[in-house]
Symmetry: D2
Subunit: 308 residues, 4 copies
């Protein structure tokens, strides 16, 4: 059971919803086509940007089945299996069919310990039909995956990769260099979710990137990835800074009225709606929808980036 | 759809597991009998002490069905519906049958906002066949339920009670007095999960208590509750201090080897096993089992309290 | 070197400032007279409510000297010696003259460890001319003083008391009962800074209370203390609830415009100004002053409590 | 009042202490010579690595005077003015003589608000005889300096630079690009304290770096800086990775026995002692000294790096 090393741009795919909160499969497949046309190298469904935390099990299954059926093996599909603890994650892992790997966080809700985190990944990997990728997301999980735990699991073949959304590039580097230096670690993929410092992450040795904003501008992230691989760091930096400016859209939501998820996911979906990719910018409950003014601001970000 | 005001001792019922991790229904019903014989006034299944975060959906359903069938309406049964966001909680709520109320936290994993918390409870309550009790557990949810949000939801009849495990007695008091003072709030139950300061919580006006340690010593908590209601605060304090000493068992687990959940839940289940109530002290994955030495220490706590 | 056990109400004395930020000694001594007339049992200068964090060394010295000279031994005076680490605290301790005890937090700014906290208190106590009281204020210090560290230091005679402003009544109780049960701890004073649950803290065994709101309404806290000591818990609860309502003044400051310190300390000083005790409600830099509207709201709280 | 733009390597200078805790001036000047010989471009005294939080005022003054006198204007000297709030920082700023700039954090201990942070810097800058550099150190200050506040202060000429030790490279980039894009910001220096990702920080546009490990291996950081400036990113990455391996020394201290400061500062000082630069590895109270075993491990790190 191996996974070809992952490289390039693997966006966490937004989950388009109908106005009444059902998965909008036609919009979802259009979004996949938009990403594939943008040149992305893989897809990550049921991640945080996909609102996995908001999707009931039947919606999660529909998303994985729709996307894996649609792409038909053209490019790798990773599927999040996001839940609180080992037994619940095992249920999700068993239900995932067609994906090339599952992406799993440390336990959350329950307070946890590095030894329990390791035990968790070992149990999940033992039961999973596909390779497991560790997902480091302290903002949601409230624990940072320790680099030494990740490396120990990598050395033992328990996890096949890391998706790091911690924002802590120094800790990320520890995994990148550790993977290279430790005997017996092969085919391990180190991916960054830090979409504003992709150039820096690739420069220090990341294999690939998982940018939420890649939903809105896949061409930009693919271009950025290519420039980094070509060693054209000046042009890469300019492209990254352009994408950083575009990323400003995540702040359009009024913080007096909504949380950062409502604002960021609302902005991405609104942008996809304004670009004609998905039918509705609806976000899942209990997120607060953007106001007409806030929608207009998203449009301005797109216009400034030449994306409208 | 109303709920008779809850008072007295409503322990969060441990979920006995077999050695291979399945719900041990005979042990569970024995535990319920043990609690009922101890004089408790209600039962709370699928709370944090019940390892709800670790139970897959089918195990959760089995627990609720087994317990509600077994008690047959003798005393109220509350059922946790613990999940990350509104749509997922709605699925749990729809699956709960036989319970008198559901207990629901604020959204977690996703970063959230007071307006989103209110929206969450309104949506859950609109769909729930039974009353909804708000569950404040910042150590797990990483958000404190603001007192003004709870009171607004209470005034609008959205939530029928609060189970407060925040440890913040001053904030708890704000809800207690707010409920009394606000027009239009009737039949709202304010419950504390702070098992070490039950006397204080009842003294300031709590309606009832939800003590995890009540699994091990229900008679003690029922006695404590009675003393408080009788206004015998000196005797109540002595009984509470005895229970605080017994609670020391939650620290038996070596912190170098396991997290606080493994230690606390492991201690409660070990105590129930040593007392002959349940067949196995098994805790759910990825929790670390207590060592023989640690088990022995639990036994000493029981012996010191005259419970062996 | 001993300290008579502290009991009763020991308010943290506000530090009145002139409009240009100097210590207003006449207002300070009037405030002391107001507190003494209210019947308080001790005074705590240079605590957090005293804006100790904002006062340069010369102002700190002036406060201690003015207050100790003014009270002339009528009642005990505790003086905060608030700074980041041992060597800096030692300098403050050496400069305190006339106070009956110094009040010292764990190290802050630098990340710390229980062993370092213990070392800190041992070094401070070894050099201090007066007894040392441990100050637990996690909201400022970002470390909770562990109960076992406090009890170990108490047993060794290193600290003579605890001023607990953690808000965690269960942890506070651990110290209260630990002090009673451990051999060799004598004359140790356990004080709570949780001004909204004084009744509960005294009921579980606190020796005294350090209420910031006691600046505004010393008579109320003295009455509350007396009712608790007399065992009239119902009347105590009513008095505490009245004080909780008055405490609402700390929220008058607009959170979009200022932090909680600006609002709370601004409200206390404004109330003292409106009551004619101090000349100016000025708070230290960089706190934001209350607006005229916010001042008016403070007045309404006072009027509702019959204090205007 | 201007400051020439700061670039290159500006290490936070350790403060050598005698065995009894006094500033060891001869060792300090030898350390400065060691750094200057290593080719550094500036010196930062009284930063966190300098144990500023542990130094009483007279020791702080002695450090600044000794270093500025010794370097005699050869290279810029920045001096930390670390204290809790505006009035206390103002006292330190007034006492700093000879330094080219002061480095100031947001208020800490007191809970704070962006408006209060801005007010703080404005007041400090108005009174300071030398330019003010903002110091972002959330691990100590428990507030992150918001990028928009820094940019507003930069645009108004209030602060002349940023020393970022937040570890958050994406937020750092926001300041770097903001400084470039905003009209009216000139001569602002953006420095990173993230010593493990200097190559990445320089690649995205940082002006300079403030590496604690630069005390131990100034030549390495100067080499790294030069390689980055020459655009030789591959060689820079190799040099940075070598320094990351050397940095492993900060973990030699047993976490069961001491905190991270004791371990890291102990390791740096031990390394300087083993390299013959300073007379004693003594750290300030209440830090725990390294054990002989831990000292030996530091020696191994040095040997592996060819520094012994």
């Amino acid at each position: 059971m191996t996974l070809a090393p992952l490289t390039g741009v693997i966006p966490p795919v937004c989950t388009p919803l109908t106005a009444d909160g059902e998965v909008d499969v036609p919009s979802l497949t259009r979004l996949v086509d938009h990403l594939v046309a943008g040149g992305v190298h893989g897809l990550f469904v049921l991640g945080s940007t996909s609102e996995a935390a908001y999707l009931p099990d039947r919606q999660r299954r529909l998303v994985v089945e729709s996307v894996t059926a649609h792409v038909g093996g053209q490019l790798p599909v990773l599927a999040g299996a996001i839940d609180m603890t080992t037994p619940r994650v095992l249920d999700h892992v068993a239900a995932v069919t067609g994906a090339d790997a599952v992406v799993v966080t440390a336990p959350f809700y329950a307070r946890t310990h590095p030894a329990e985190i390791a035990r968790h990944y070992r149990a999940v990997a033992a039961a999973s039909p596909v390779p497991v990728i560790a997902y480091d997301l302290p903002v949601a999980v409230h624990t940072k995956l320790p680099a030494d735990v990740v490396l120990e699991l990598a050395a033992d073949g328990v996890v096949a990769g890391l998706k790091d959304s911690s924002g802590d590039l120094a800790a990320f580097r520890q995994v990148v260099t550790g993977v290279r230096e430790r005997r017996g670690i092969t085919g391990f993929s180190v991916l960054t979710g830090s979409e504003l410092i992709v150039d820096a992450a690739l420069a220090i040795g990341a294999d690939g990137t998982v940018p939420g904003l890649g939903n809105v501008d896949p061409h930009g992230y693919v271009r950025l990835d290519g420039l980094c691989r070509a060693g054209d760091w000046e042009a890469a930096r300019a492209e990254q800074e352009r994408l950083c400016a575009l990323f400003g859209m995540v702040t359009v939501g009024d913080p007096a009225r909504m949380g950062p998820n409502s604002s960021a996911i609302g902005a991405f979906k609104t942008a996809l709606h304004l670009r004609g990719v998905i039918d509705s910018p609806t976000t899942a409950q209990p997120q607060i929808p953007l106001s007409p003014d806030e929608v207009e601001q998203v449009g301005k970000y797109l216009a400034a980036a030449g994306l409208l």
